[in-house]
């Protein structure tokens, strides 16, 4: 072995393990990864807000008086924001879930179409959420 080869400095190679929260900023998440983590976040959000949904459902169903009460609660600006968060969570989780179900049938698994479907999920769910937001805050 020649001297040059033996003396070449060994490059420190990166080791890839499970990443820690503090390392998150070092990674650029692909679109499919964004959809994946948003699936968890939206799912957790809806899980945590389940009592809010049930409370609103109860108010809306119990009687005509409670229905009016429900309309009063739902017209408060803060409640509108909570409802909007729930709507976003539902749209995101719904669209990404349909993508999951389609991919389970071995359709669109290659890198390119997975990226495209991830972008589609983000665009559709954000557009629908925006539509509901406009309706909720009385633009139309």
């Amino acid at each position: 072995m020649s001297e040059a080869v033996r003396e070449a400095p060994k490059k420190e190679r990166p080791q890839f393990t499970n990443i820690h929260v503090t390392q998150l900023s070092n990674y650029r998440l692909p679109l499919a990864g964004v959809v994946s983590i948003l699936h968890r976040i939206s799912g957790f959000l809806m899980f945590a807000l389940l009592p809010v949904v049930l409370y609103l459902l109860e108010k809306s169903l119990l009687s005509e008086i409670s229905f009016e009460h429900f309309k009063g609660i739902a017209s408060h600006w803060f409640m509108k924001l909570v409802i909007l968060a729930l709507v976003w969570g539902y749209m995101q989780h719904f669209c990404a879930g349909v993508r999951h179900l389609i991919m389970d049938t071995h359709v669109g698994l290659d890198k390119d179409s997975a990226r495209k479907s991830a972008a589609t999920v983000l665009v559709i769910s954000l557009a629908l959420t925006a539509l509901v937001a406009l309706k909720l805050f009385g633009v139309f």
């Binding site: 968890r40 809806m46 119990l62 005509e64 879930g97 179900l101």
Partner: protein
């Protein structure tokens, strides 16, 4: 997985290693898609949003049962998803177990409440 990973050395993950939960999550997802479609159609084809129309829909027995089945499916779906989250991000077994127990309690509470709501109309 190594063969010595049995008995007291078994990896504590709280999962059944099986396809059952995976399948249950898909089946309940399809159920929720169908329910969403039914609710949306009846909502959009109905006249203005009034108490009579809304409560009238939920007053029918078939819709009560459909709602209850879908909600139970939702709670099971949420259990599988939440357990995935705790298993991936919470490593200490004690804390993970506590969170899983809280999750089950939370979901059973919601299930009982939703039955009470549905049959109060």
């Amino acid at each position: 997985m190594a063969k010595n990973n049995i008995g007291p050395k078994r990896l504590v993950v709280g999962a059944g290693y099986g396809v059952r939960d995976w399948l249950a999550q898909r089946v309940t997802a399809v159920l929720m898609v169908v329910y969403t479609a039914v609710l949306l159609i009846s909502f959009l084809t109905g006249s203005n949003f009034s108490y009579e129309g809304w409560a009238g829909l939920f007053a029918q027995q078939w819709f009560k049962l459909f709602s209850a089945v879908t909600l139970f499916g939702l709670f099971y779906h949420a259990w599988v998803g939440m357990r995935d989250i705790w298993m991936d991000y919470v490593k200490p077994v004690g804390i993970r177990l506590a969170l899983q127990i809280i999750t089950i309690g939370w979901l059973i509470g919601c299930a009982v409440w939703s039955v009470q709501i549905l049959w109060s109309v």
